[in-house]
């Protein structure tokens, strides 16, 4: 009876999870997706808890759940600019959970019933702990980099034979794993198991240190897929189809996002993970001095006022400066004058997929004015002013023709085709990828140097003062 109830709940929960993701296809129905997901999770927890074998240690379960609430609640209240870190951190929690359950199951069966350690199960356990623990440390590193914790280097760290070392480590873990599958209960098996855990933990760290900020959207997506796969492996170990389906949904989401991110950077999976940007920087930094043209706030405000189509290109700089609310005020000022304002969103702008959309939505800008790169580019020649707010590589025209550029071939937003370009930039240093941006030296481009929030604020002040409405 209980078994039937549990299985039925799992089937319903699976259906709800699929529907939840389905509802995400439109912002109008998306919140339903959250409710569906919550309902499914609630059902799954209750159904599992009700099983007869779980009857013994309720107190433990209650305490762990309560602690989860205590930590989870503040983590959901972080500022939206910190969402990439939070996401990475929760990938690492997911990986840790999978790794720990795999470890617990292995030692449980090793101690009580080694006959349960069939080759199939052992393979699943090994996959679970490798994926789980490497996601744990890898995501922790990624979260640390995104949070800019001091003792984690922000710049990509590279050293000779790095890739050989990484691949060698992973291979070693797989070989030890294969030996364990064949001898799950030999006298040395427990040690070998711990060795695999150690290798996976180390591999996660080494995988992330050569990754730079511009690659973070892809890396977060890949870690998302790994977290999903570790849940799938747990499902195989525990013979639990709900775990398999939910994990597979997460895994395919990570996979699709990774593919989209890779396409948006014209790079392959392998290239993102094993080809750090770091090496190219030194070569490019030597290029000769070029001259910027700067513009005053008054002049920039005038340019904006006379435009009929303004396209704002936001980038990570907007997030760092927390400028989205000021941008919204600017948007309002321009709209009041009957100017059409659109936002051009590059898929890899920011530090995770969709990062810019969330920040602009937070500032109350209607999502109908957030336009994808492929849709806005045909309109760029009609655009009077392209206002670049803290974006750099995603508007660098060198990506189109400069074969020596590390971003060569990456699709960009055609800001350079607009009649005028106004670019807000914090400093005269090159962007994260360390590449000079030709857009800034074009004769149609005027630079506004300063903190994005301050500059946009000045523009708003100028526009609202000039119109005499305040």
């Amino acid at each position: 009876m209980i078994v039937a109830f549990t299985q039925l709940s799992y089937v319903v929960a699976t259906a709800l999870f699929i529907l939840a993701l389905h509802w995400m296809n439109d912002p109008k129905t998306a919140r339903r997706g959250v409710y569906g997901g919550v309902a499914a999770m609630f059902l799954a927890i209750l159904a599992t808890w009700a099983q007869p074998q779980v009857i013994v240690h309720h107190v433990w379960i209650v305490i762990a759940i309560a602690l989860g609430f205590l930590v989870g609640w503040p983590l959901s209240r972080v500022p939206l600019t910190a969402v990439p870190q939070r996401t990475a951190l929760s990938h690492s929690f997911g990986g840790l959970a999978a790794g720990l359950v795999g470890t617990a199951e292995y030692f449980l069966w090793l101690g009580e019933a080694p006959v349960n350690l069939t080759p199939f199960r052992m393979t699943a356990i090994i996959a679970e702990i490798i994926f789980g623990y490497l996601t744990f440390t890898g995501s922790l590193m990624a979260a640390g980099k995104l949070q800019e914790i001091r003792w984690i280097p922000q710049r990509p760290v590279t050293f000779p034979l790095q890739n050989a070392l990484n691949i060698g480590l992973l291979l070693l873990a797989v070989i030890v794993g294969a030996a364990l599958v064949l001898n799950p209960a030999a006298p040395w098996s427990a040690t070998a198991f711990l060795v695999i855990i150690g290798l996976a933990l180390l591999f996660g760290v080494l995988l992330i240190i050569p990754i730079g900020g511009a690659d973070m959207p892809t890396v977060i997506s890949i870690l998302n897929a790994y977290a999903g796969l570790s849940a799938v492996a747990m499902g195989f170990v525990l013979d639990n189809k709900l775990l398999i389906t939910a994990g597979a949904l997460d895994g395919s989401s990570g996979l699709i996002l990774s593919v989209i991110m890779c396409k948006a950077m014209n790079r392959s999976f392998f290239n993102v993970l094993f080809g750090a940007f770091g090496k190219v920087e030194a070569a490019k930094a030597a290029s000769g001095q070029k001259v910027y043209k700067t513009e005053t706030i008054e002049g920039a405000a005038q340019l904006l006022e006379q435009a009929s189509l303004v396209v704002i290109v936001p980038g990570y700089g907007m997030a760092v400066a927390q400028a989205q609310h000021k941008v919204r005020e600017l948007y309002d000022q321009l709209k009041k004058r009957g100017i059409t304002v659109k936002f051009a969103i590059h898929p890899v702008a920011g530090r995770m997929p969709g990062h810019m959309n969330v920040l602009l939505a937070e500032a109350d800008i209607p999502y109908t004015d957030l336009v994808e790169m492929d849709e806005i580019n045909p309109d760029m020649p009609q655009c009077d002013v392209a206002l670049v707010v803290g974006a750099n590589d995603v508007v660098n025209p060198a990506a189109r023709y400069d074969k020596s550029s590390p971003i060569y071939g990456m699709p960009i937003i055609d800001a350079d085709k607009a009649r005028t370009v106004l670019a807000i930039k914090r400093s005269k240093n090159p962007g994260f990828a360390g590449i000079d941006n030709e857009l800034y030296f074009s004769d149609r481009t005027w630079m506004l140097f300063g903190d994005a929030k301050a500059v946009v604020g000045e523009l708003v002040k100028q526009l609202s003062g000039g119109s005499g409405m305040h």
Partner: protein, 141 residues
């Protein structure tokens, strides 16, 4: 998209998964288990792996199909939602924590349960918080 269309697209797929789950309960003429002569529990576990692979394969295709249609606007909330969903690892953690096992096993389970629960709570809450902010033209007054 209308409800009927949703039903037309998604329900057969769900049905397929459910059918596989049901099929999986009847060990038919599957290849002999690797651990012939083992305990019944171990035997049925190894008998079942083909159906698990089926479920995994189907769920991956459903996932790819559904997620490809997710609006690009919502990729950040999508990631935090799938994050919360993959915290379904909570199911495994509860089984490990709550059963009659040695203490160290239960401690591992309890940490895993705590980690998954954190993901569930923060994942769903922050997804909803973000989605609340997405407003169309009409939503702004």
């Amino acid at each position: 998209m209308s409800g009927r269309q949703i039903a037309g697209r998604v329900v057969p797929l769900i049905g397929a998964v459910a059918a596989t789950v049901a099929l999986a309960q009847t060990p038919g003429d599957l290849p002999p288990p690797a651990t012939a002569g083992a305990l019944p529990a171990a035997e049925s576990a190894s008998l079942d792996y083909w159906s698990m692979l089926f479920v995994f394969m189907l769920a991956t295709f459903i996932g790819v199909g559904v997620i490809r249609r997710v609006s690009r606007l919502l990729h950040t909330p999508l990631m935090s939602l799938t994050n919360a969903i993959s915290a379904i690892a909570v199911v495994g953690s509860i089984i490990v924590t709550g059963s009659e096992h040695p203490l160290h096993i239960r401690i591992l389970g309890a940490i895993a349960l705590f980690a998954s629960m954190t993901n569930i709570v923060s994942g769903f809450l922050i997804t909803d918080r973000m989605l609340k902010m997405f407003k169309g033209d009409g939503g702004r007054k």
